[in-house]
Symmetry: C2
Subunit: 256 residues, 2 copies
């Protein structure tokens, strides 16, 4: 039987440790092709390159594994991989990450890692984004290997519901091993920003955005709770943004 | 009674015709402050600036109206406006646009215009993105004035459900006047890309991404149907990406 074809992407760029981790785990589970950004793309959300050109360059960073670096965003990488690099082939699974930093709760919207996975779901391919809740680029991530393997194996065996991408987050490494996996909803949380105002050497003002994460959610069925309690969180995500419940309300309340 | 405070943003940049159109309509409905990107940000999705600095410069493009151009993304503009420019003030409404080009159906995910509105909703402010289904930067948009005024007036009067941003799209100008407004769900459609491969003057390969819009939706309750039938479409959008229906399914189907 042919090995499943697994496309690997990320948003920290093709040289990051996280994507090496992911490739090293999934290369035992299928035939792997890597198409990833040539530079860090954190916080790119679901950006795509319009009105500008794209570059795609083959490289040998992963030895025998076919790999390309792309000048575009994570979503661009998925589009180029599907419609150019792997044109005509059936991609069995797209995996993105491992991101250096959490993409839980509201961060899914800002996440380049998850935009690659959601783009995959839009294109009809089962897709998973993996993130580690540790921003340190040299963070210990050996505790996640078994869980990546487990999630990828289940996805290859059972597939994913149509139009669904999984947002998988791993807790920071602790003394105790991870307790298990929880299927979760996205926690009700947001970032409240401060702006650190500074002067450049020429006397002109500039800002650093400083995010403060605020969790409003008291539930135990959400990703923030799972991660705080040393579980892997999995949130199934959809790309239909419609607030269906609001349509009858607005038709009633508004005079249109 | 104090006038409502209306924050205006967009993604085509502060010099575009669309934002002038929007300012010209809403300045009659409240006190207006503009914070918009200093350059085009189309297709930026929900990108934010992390790991880099931001600039914010006051300008006089709108005469007496307080206006700033920002080096960041549309979502950055909203964050800077709320937490720096208008810190401590209650923003009654955020409006974004008028975008030169459709943001209906799946394009909501790629849209910088809608990322400003969705960021507003995340921050707890009633927010609306406006887009015209015409990419021509000099497109006729006088047929939308009354509809912007109508939607903004209703939003100021009745508010919006918590956590909801409206995605408002206007049909291309036709001989017949617009038929009315429809509350819609996001159509099931997507972009299928081709890549136009070229050589630069130095013999190196590059690509233009060429999107082909494919509408799979046969329903009459979605935004594509409304726009094709000369209605204004309004899709209420939420930022909870959870596919709630998939959680019990995955708990059942997966051995975790």
């Amino acid at each position: 039987m042919a090995k499943p074809l697994i496309l690997v992407c990320n948003d920290d760029g093709i040289t990051s440790r996280g994507i090496r981790k992911l490739v090293n785990v999934v290369k035992n589970l299928g035939e792997v092709v890597v198409v990833a950004p040539d530079s860090p793309q954190s916080g790119m959300g679901h950006a795509i390159t319009v009105g500008d050109t794209l570059r795609l360059t083959k490289n040998d960073l992963f030895g025998d594994i076919e790999a390309y670096e792309c000048s575009g965003t994570p979503a661009d990488c998925i589009k180029l991989a599907k419609h150019y690099v792997l044109k005509g082939k059936k991609i069995d699974l797209i995996v993105s990450g491992v991101n250096h930093g959490s993409n839980s709760s509201i961060s899914v919207l800002y996440s380049g890692t998850m935009s690659a996975a959601i783009e995959g779901a839009i294109e009809g391919v089962p897709s998973i984004g993996f993130s580690l809740c540790d921003f340190d680029p040299s963070a210990d991530m050996d505790h996640v290997d078994n869980y990546i393997e487990k999630v990828v194996t289940e996805a290859l065996k059972n597939g994913l519901p149509k139009g669904i991408a999984l947002n998988v987050n791993f807790p920071v490494k602790q003394k105790e091993p991870i307790k298990g996996i929880k299927m979760c909803r996205q926690a009700n949380a947001n970032w409240e920003e401060d702006f650190d105002e500074r002067k450049d050497p020429y006397g002109r003002k500039y800002f650093w955005m400083v995010g403060n994460f605020v969790n409003h959610d008291k539930g135990e069925d959400n990703d923030e709770w799972a991660l705080a309690n040393n579980y892997v969180s999995i949130v199934p995500c959809q790309f239909d943004m419609t607030a269906h419940h609001a349509i009858p309300h607005l038709n009633e309340a508004w005079d249109i």
